[in-house]
Symmetry: C2
Subunit: 330 residues, 2 copies
């Protein structure tokens, strides 16, 4: 019999097919090989992107010239506009506001063919530092309440450019999914006086079957109520409400790249989405919320049942996914 499982942090129910679990080779969704051609994110083409917001340049060198190891540029086709005032207005029964926000692209390394899983570990660490620095900067703009960092790997996951990159969008409102996690984790805290994420980590470390890997500071797990096959969550083992006060990005880069290598190995280069969930700017230091990275390989299709219910059907139990990941030789 399938199992209905509830994710205690989001309130989301999923249907897990525990009997005829799909194995990695049953999916066959793969990132298309890169086609090459002109690429605005490649070294030498700096002038074809909007002027850079920041960059890491190991040598010296001017902005928007070559010699960088990482660049952050405004998205050429932003979902939100960075200029303008926030204005909330009604339209009869409806509410709307100006689409004010920042939409930036982190070009993670100069090499067109690298991915987060194959680039030098130092570049992964640099990428995490770039997220951190951009958040520090965007926090000063009091129009913004939240910064969502995300990455789309592969066209099936929504990437429109091949060259490895992440994105961040600063928003004037707290996203609904984060609000829901905040609400439930506050509720848990008011009852238990403990962080629900800390409790989940404790239980998973005891049980071990959904733990993928650990290092001194971080843990990667297959969530009990994974929405999708091989969903993975990376969390700091000690309580940290926001990304990332201690900046121990060497260890985070290590577990992140290891996890992505495992995903690439087990699923043969699947498309995936990666998201960072953190506490909102106005409430960054708290006892109840715990920042984390979510990785969702894009192996199944979202259909009418999911769109209509908010339920997900996951054909691979997370216990099996974690085992495949643990056993991957990376």
């Amino acid at each position: 019999m399938p199992e209905l499982r509830k994710d205690p942090m989001s309130g989301r129910w999923v249907i897990i097919s525990v009997e005829r679990g799909k194995r990695p080779s049953d999916f066959g969704v793969r990132v298309s090989p890169k086609k090459g051609g002109f690429c605005a994110f490649c070294e030498g083409n700096e002038r074809t992107t909007p002027p850079e917001i920041m960059a890491f340049r190991p040598g010296s060198g001017d902005s928007n010239t070559s010699g960088w190891s990482l660049r952050v540029v405004p998205n050429k086709f932003p979902a939100l506009n960075v200029e303008g005032q926030l204005e909330r207005v009604g339209e009869g029964i409806f509410d709307k506001m100006n689409g004010v926000g920042a939409h930036e692209v982190v070009i993670e390394c100069p090499d067109h063919n690298s991915t987060l899983s194959t680039m030098p570990l130092k570049s992964v660490e640099g990428t995490l530092w770039a997220f951190h620095q951009r958040m520090e900067d965007l926090r000063k703009d009091n129009r913004f309440k939240y910064v969502l960092v995300f990455k789309n790997e592969g066209d099936d996951a929504g990437a429109s450019l091949e060259h490895t990159h992440s994105q961040l969008i600063a928003l004037p409102i707290i996203p609904q999914l984060v609000e829901e996690e905040l609400f439930l984790s506050k509720q848990y805290y008011s009852y238990k006086e403990r962080c629900i994420f800390c409790d989940v980590i404790r239980q998973e470390r005891d049980g071990k079957m959904r733990v993928i890997s650990e290092n001194e500071d971080f843990i990667a797990i297959a969530p009990f109520a994974s929405r999708a096959p091989f969903e993975t969550m990376i969390l700091p083992k000690r309580h940290e409400s926001a990304f990332a006060p201690h900046g121990n990005f060497d260890l985070l880069a290590q577990i992140l790249q290891r996890t992505l290598k495992q995903i690439d190995k087990v699923l043969d280069l699947p498309p995936y989405n990666l998201m960072i969930h953190t506490s909102p700017f106005k409430d960054e230091t708290n006892e109840y919320y715990h920042w984390h990275i979510e990785i969702l390989p894009k192996l199944t299709k979202i259909a009418g049942f999911e769109w209509g219910s908010g339920f997900y059907i996951n054909p691979t139990p997370p216990e099996e996914a974690a085992k495949f990941m643990r056993e991957a030789d990376v």
Copy 2:
């Protein structure tokens, strides 16, 4: 500047690109042509599906033989099992229950190549009657709290079989997205003592720019905060909390098929998902919730931003979508 819009019924925010709105021809996502070959849903192959639950047979004729105009059969690969007791158990901090539920397939008409948009109007009406009758029957099983009716058209929308069909899943819990709509519509009702859906219909009929079509009993609109290009909602114009007490399925079939013909014409046979939202079994007659059909053409990809935030980016303003739909010659 883009616009942030909030859907008052679900609390969902969307980013609408009001300036460089994408036109229908910009998407280019199309249902793949049918390949044919053996089909378990075609007439003559009745024995290859699980035994039918109900069927419309204009002549007489035995169950599971030809001569039908519509069949309902159990899904051969059900997401939930119809046998078994509900059992809620904890696993430390986690909650789970047996995956008890019903998963049925409505084979809408015998013709392999028809779609809801091209089949005889009588078959669309028959399909709605089948939904209704199955709900009436499943309601008697007190393990079930909700029945979600949905349809996936085209493989990009998650359809795994070509032959036109819909599905329904009876669930032991109320889906999260429906719970959210119930919560917000109750809140609105407690403040205004009016149904929020009725108020939206009133406002849209006054403004007209998001109205796609109307008949005596139903209205089709492009929601103010559409999640996706050409999202469409069909609602009864008079307050009805659950699907569908008056059974005026001739008029519903008419507006539904007209809407799907418009979508097919404007977008050139796009894949889509269709879902019915209705009040849960235990609370079917109420003043605050209003059943409706949601249709989501599958033109854009769900990427990290949507997965991480619950926000949607919609490149086509609903006002433009409604205009294209109104002007489609069907």
